[in-house]
């Protein structure tokens, strides 16, 4: 058996191609990158917005600016370089994003639940997410499903998806392809090539279409060629449990 977190991490890791340059956040994306490196993408380059390029942390970093990300990295530079030269410069191939709310076009809210001036919940804000969403050549969203987390429209667009405020990415002049996939705990949503709306494209073993559609706040389109993804391999699980996160810092279970 395996947990939802393990499955999400494995699916995310399979999205990464060898040699790609990935803008990484802490948590599951970090673990997914490490798993990819230990399996099919040994030459993945990890970049952190804190300024560490080509990090090879010897411990699981507890924050995005963990000292272990710097020690032994290929380059440690200022944040102006990270945002101007690497991100705006078009050098980042994959960005990982998550958030409190994600809508049908992959717009993400990490700013406020409720009204901006009188929020029900004040969230941390953008950090680098707005510009990662705009500039990374493609982004992957990782989030557990729930109707609260997947409303038809987010309360606030922090990071633009495939269509925001009535305009497509092309109309906005955004360089990156936007969120191509949303990796959830029950299946994978993939952006439509026609209008950028997220569609259910693959289910995890044992999940039904309703398991997903009932947890999404809009009528979710289901692809005709709906797939079932293969479960984590024994080797993937071994690496995660015994090598990459033996103390269950990120993979807390559940």
């Amino acid at each position: 058996m395996y947990t939802a977190e393990e499955m999400m991490t494995v699916i995310a890791s399979r999205e990464l191609r060898d040699g790609e340059i990935v803008f990484v956040g802490i948590g599951l994306p970090n673990l997914a990158c490490n798993l990819a490196r230990a399996t099919r993408a040994p030459r993945l380059v990890l970049i952190y917005e804190s300024g560490a390029v080509g990090a090879l942390p010897e411990r699981l970093p507890v924050s995005i600016g963990d000292p272990s990300l710097v020690t032994g990295s290929l380059m440690a530079t200022g944040m102006a370089d990270i945002f101007q030269l690497f991100l705006q410069g078009g050098r980042i191939e994959v960005g990982f994003l998550g958030g409190a709310q994600i809508d049908r076009y992959g717009n993400i809210n990490t700013t406020v639940v409720g009204e901006y001036a009188t929020p029900k919940v004040r969230l941390p804000g953008s950090g680098g997410a707005a510009e990662i969403a705009i500039h990374a050549r493609r982004t992957l969203i990782i989030s557990r499903l729930s109707t609260r987390a997947f409303p038809a429209e987010v309360d606030f667009i922090t990071s633009p998806g495939n269509r925001s405020r009535g305009r497509s990415r092309k109309e906005w002049g955004m360089p990156g392809a936007g969120p191509v996939k949303v990796i959830t705990d029950r299946g994978v949503l993939v952006a439509s090539e026609f209008d950028g709306e997220m569609e259910l494209a693959a289910l995890y073993p044992g999940m039904t279409v309703e398991d997903v559609t009932s947890r999404v706040g809009w009528p979710l389109r289901v692809r005709d060629d709906l797939e079932t993804v293969s479960p984590p391999s024994r080797e993937e699980l071994r690496l995660l449990r015994e090598v990459l996160d033996p103390s269950k810092l990120y993979l807390k279970g559940g």
Binding site: I26, E49, S50, G51, A52, P61, V62, S63, I64, G65, D66, P67, V70, T71, A76, T77, G78, M79, A80, F83, Q84, L87, Q88, N107, T111, Y116, P119, K120, V121, R122, P124, G125, S126, G127, G128, A129, A130, E131, A133, I134, H135, F156, I157, T158, S159, P160, G161, S164, R165, R167, R169, W172, G173, M174, P175
Partner: protein, 294 residues
């Protein structure tokens, strides 16, 4: 620390304590709280625990920021209370990281604005009128623009500096150079005061030249619970503990009473926490030097 703060940090000032998870000068923040500064405009990409403490202590009128969370842990609850329930009220002005970096870059370069490709499709400009558009005079493209940020004072924590303030930093460099050059006054707080010959032996490591520095303060462990590469590790236990402390405003007040207001200086703060320096001291990992010969 006491004298430098008293001299350069005044009520109503725009104050920057920078450092992206690395080299956050808690020593300076605590001294601001002890000196009961009020109505400060605090600017930081990631307010981190230091700003949560300053907000709770009533020092801040306004926060200019891009990510207000407890890095790797969760939320900043004093910040949340201030925004969600206005206790105490706090004006906010928010950007993304790139926007804040650009504001410091403009301030440092003495430009009135900085252009960036950003904010298309987001709602951030709709709540921040300081994010505008500028037209490229060559292509006609419309780009985002943010205004220069020129603080009254920037406080930078560093591994080492000489008496003149020539400051060397390694590891994560954040936006400290830009913030310092953008600022009217600069206070450098160091783990180690070194002879100028140490600085001159490796001039490529100098991030901030002494000519823009007003005061140098020697304060070992001044960045705890954040970290100083080569000196000490991040105190993740305290970051995790802050989740609980900051959720409860009484617990937070008790924390400030005991560890900030109840101590005279950084040495007393450390004395309250026996074993801390042993637990967090860095294992040396010294790189080879390079030759500057000719």
């Amino acid at each position: 620390m006491r004298d430098a703060n008293a001299r350069y940090v005044h009520d109503g000032d725009t104050v920057v304590i920078e450092g992206f998870t690395h080299l956050i000068c808690f020593a300076a923040g605590h001294e601001i709280i002890r000196q009961k500064r009020r109505e400060l405009v605090l600017c930081r990409l990631t307010p981190d625990l230091i700003v949560d403490q300053l907000i709770a202590a009533g020092c801040a009128r306004k926060l200019v920021f891009s990510w207000a969370g407890n890095p790797g842990v969760g939320a900043l609850h004093a910040f949340r209370r201030a925004v969600e329930t206005k206790t105490p009220p706090l004006e906010i002005e928010e950007y993304s990281h790139f926007g804040m970096v650009a504001r410091f870059s403009a301030g440092a370069a003495h430009l009135p604005f900085w252009p960036l490709r950003d904010y298309q499709g987001t709602d951030i400009p709709s709540v921040n009128p300081s994010i505008r558009q500028v037209t490229c005079p060559f292509t006609g493209e419309s780009l985002a623009a943010v205004p220069a940020l020129n603080p009254d004072v920037t406080i930078v924590h560093a591994q080492r500096a000489d008496m003149e303030g020539n400051t060397q930093i390694w590891g994560l460099l954040g936006v400290q150079k830009e913030a310092a050059f953008a600022s009217r006054h600069v206070i450098v707080v160091v783990e180690e005061l070194v002879d100028t010959s140490i600085v001159r032996a490796d001039p490529n490591r100098t991030l901030i030249p002494g000519m823009i520095v007003d005061a140098v303060v020697v304060e070992p462990w001044g960045a705890h619970p954040s970290y100083a590469q080569g000196h000490y590790d991040r105190d993740n236990e305290f970051y995790v503990a802050w989740e609980k402390i900051s959720r409860d405003s009484a617990a937070l007040a008790n924390y400030l009473d005991e560890f900030v207001l109840g101590v005279e200086d950084r040495a007393a703060y450390l004395a309250l926490q026996p074993g801390l320096t042993t637990r967090l001291a860095a294992t040396p990992r010294v790189c080879a030097g390079v030759s500057y010969g000719y």
